[in-house]
């Protein structure tokens, strides 16, 4: 069974990680390096156990383009999110034996080294992935 683990962050969080003081203090060089090393290990452990299908991080929300429509015509909006709005920041697709195992994997993300104010509010979602066409249209 495949599951998607999703993490979230606001533009403010991205700025902090990018070394910029906003409403919250910026990450130090040590914070950033420790997080990188942790993620590298986390990903290689998952690849090693054969459970990692794919993982990606998304660029800052400010770089988003939203495609919508207005009176029948396509309209592109640059950077549609508010500064503090939390949006998808990255994901892992894992293939493992149970929902509990996927949850266990995601729980390890809680150990990610980060500044205290970031750790205090961080969360992840785990969602089962529909496997086939039948799951979607019966």
């Amino acid at each position: 069974m495949k599951y998607m683990i999703l993490t979230y962050a606001s533009q403010q969080d991205y700025d902090g990680m990018g070394g910029k003081d906003t409403g919250k203090p910026a990450w130090t060089e040590q914070d950033f390096a420790a997080m990188g090393a942790f993620m590298e290990k986390f990903n290689s452990d998952l690849a090693e156990s054969g459970e990692l299908v794919e993982t990606r991080g998304l660029a800052a929300p400010v770089l988003t383009r939203r495609l919508g429509s207005k009176e029948g015509a396509s309209v592109v909006t640059d950077g549609p999110y508010a500064e503090t709005q939390e949006v998808l920041a990255g994901y892992w697709v894992v293939e493992c034996d149970s929902f509990d195992r996927a949850t266990e994997i995601a729980a390890r993300l809680g150990e990610t080294p980060a500044p205290e104010h970031v750790r205090a509010t961080a969360y992840a979602d785990i969602r089962p992935i529909m496997e086939s066409r039948e799951d979607m249209v019966g």
Partner: protein, 409 residues
Amino acid sequence: MAESVPEDLLRELAPQVLGALVRRYGHFDTAEDAVQEALLAAAQQWPEQGFPDNPKAWLITVASRRLTDLLRSEQARQRREDTVAQWVLPDDWLTPPADRPVEAGDDTLILLFLCCHPSLSAASQIALTLRAVGGLTTTEIARAFLVPEATMTRRITRAKKSVKDAGARFSLPPDRDERLDAVLKVIYLIFNEGYASTAGPSLQRVELAAEGIRLARMVHALLPDDSEVTGLLALMLLTDARRPARTGPAGELIPMAEQDRTRWLQPSIAEGVDLITDALPRGPVGPYQLQAAIAAVHDEAASWTDTDWPQIVALYEVLLQLSDNPMVALNHAVAVAMAEGPTRGLELLGQIETDDRIAKDHRLHAVRAHLLEMSGDPTGARTAYELAATLTTSLPQQRYLNTKAANTT
């Protein structure tokens, strides 16, 4: 005791074996699969059964047999589908007269032209070149470009089909010079993908840079008198020489001005300088030679400030005449600012800013920030650094630019 097969040997023979097969039997697409299987067989069998006396002949024999099998099953399938099997007779391929021995090098070159066929997208040209000429497996290529293996398999299969559909022949194309330009561009893209990787957490993916250099060496060995080929090889060596100093311990980007030059790779610099010194007077002068000459001036300078900036300005001015590239114009502006002062550099930036190709590029704003800082305008510099930081997708680059913004007072 089983001895492992040196990977270099197999990868060096790969294009020669494929070339020999396609020259003899045609069927570039199927032959390419057959050669991959022969390489795999060699990697498995040679350590157990011993190395053949003539590894190349062994590979050609095994690949030919495999090709025959593949074509037979293809033919049988076609017959079942009640269509006429389209065999391509050797005579249908343009081959040199029988009294002229075929150089393995010619085959490799023709393969490169096929892989960089104008009917293919850049991504497909790169993938096909790495597989058919570089001898890399689809798995390795997929890993290098961070895409799923199935995606890369499809990309390569489609590329081979496009080459076939375009009616490409296994012979040197008549528009050879133009096609060589495409080959050099693909090799440079492979190198840059490794050197300045835009995806993933770490800034450099060394294997692709090394592969680009290896391919450039191969083409240089085949066309030693082509000054642009020499220029490209020199450019890569002179750029790659700075690799150890380009990132800090935490993976952060270090710009050339602040790099520890004692960590630059002296053997690469020496080789690059020799190559470009030899190529430039031979001419005709082209963009790769000019960029290599610029890289050589940087690599030989004791520090950023001790650099021979007037010479770099002059080289960029020749380069600007050859190509309408906004990145070249940007680098020219930096060199002018270093040679004649920031005011003159900022004036030149003003002329580039209206170019849509670069207006939203973080590098333009990072340069402006730096020149404003030099000219004694910290407020303007800080705003420009911050803007540059929001425009790049790379976190290490963002951290660098935000640190600069914070330190500009």
